[in-house]
């Protein structure tokens, strides 16, 4: 299975703290994406990191990619209650140019 796996499965932190989520995948990739799912808000694309990039920033988000370890991490700094959601990493199926393979997700709870 190419499926990525996130850890931890669930994370509870206090507002203002940083949250780190990790993702592992099994095949070679061109890029890796992170998505957020809020209750009632659907899937929102957060950031894409290409295989030749090691780190990428977007606002309070920092993503790293280690292709040698087939892993990625998503760091949310100075978390807010509104960051409460499930976070997923996703890669493209190696046999497809369009099919996304999602990890199992990390449920993040940011306590006010």
């Amino acid at each position: 299975s190419q499926q990525g796996e996130e850890d931890p499965q669930a994370l509870s932190i206090q507002e203002g703290e940083n949250a780190t989520m990790n993702c592992s995948y099994k095949t070679s990739i061109n890029n890796l994406q992170w998505y957020r799912q809020n209750s009632g808000r659907g899937l929102v694309h957060l950031i894409l990191i290409r295989s030749n990039e090691r780190e990428k920033h977007s606002g309070r988000l920092r993503v790293t990619l280690d292709t040698s370890k087939k892993s990625s991490s998503l760091l949310i700094t100075a978390s807010r209650a509104a960051d409460t959601a499930s976070y997923f990493c996703a890669t493209l199926d190696v046999d497809s140019s369009y099919k996304l393979i999602f990890g199992s997700g990390t449920r993040l709870l940011v306590r006010p």
């Binding site: 009632g40 899937l43 997923f88 497809s96 099919k99 996304l100 999602f102 997700g105």
Partner: protein
């Protein structure tokens, strides 16, 4: 520009009933995809349309699920008859024919009781 719209946002039906989910992609997006997340597990691909043609329906779980995209615009996903294990969130996404960039809809939360 309007995003991907899904209707209804929530649906609660009894086991054995039929439910039809609708997805309106971004105008001009020829690619349309259905995904679902059941029982809090990972999000899985169901199928892919290019315009009105089914390009890949390898993720459809069984023949109780029927997807259509008549005219290459909006798509429907019908579950008939619904079973308890069909409960979950069904996502639709669209993308242009060339270039990258999925846009997902807000999903339909289906509960089968």
């Amino acid at each position: 520009e309007a995003g991907v719209t899904q209707f209804p946002s929530h649906s609660v039906i009894e086991k054995g009933q039929t439910v039809t989910l609708r997805c309106d992609p971004i105008s001009g997006h020829d690619n349309l995809y259905w995904y679902r997340r059941v029982m809090g597990k990972e999000i899985k691909f169901l199928l892919h349309f290019v315009k009105e043609s089914k390009q890949d329906e390898s993720g459809m779980p069984n023949n109780r699920f029927l997807a259509e995209r008549t005219g290459g615009t909006y798509s429907t996903l019908k579950v008939q008859p619904a079973e308890l294990e069909d409960s979950g969130v069904y996502f639709c996404a669209s993308s242009p024919l060339t270039g990258n960039g999925y846009t997902f809809g807000s999903g339909t939360r289906l509960t089968v009781v």
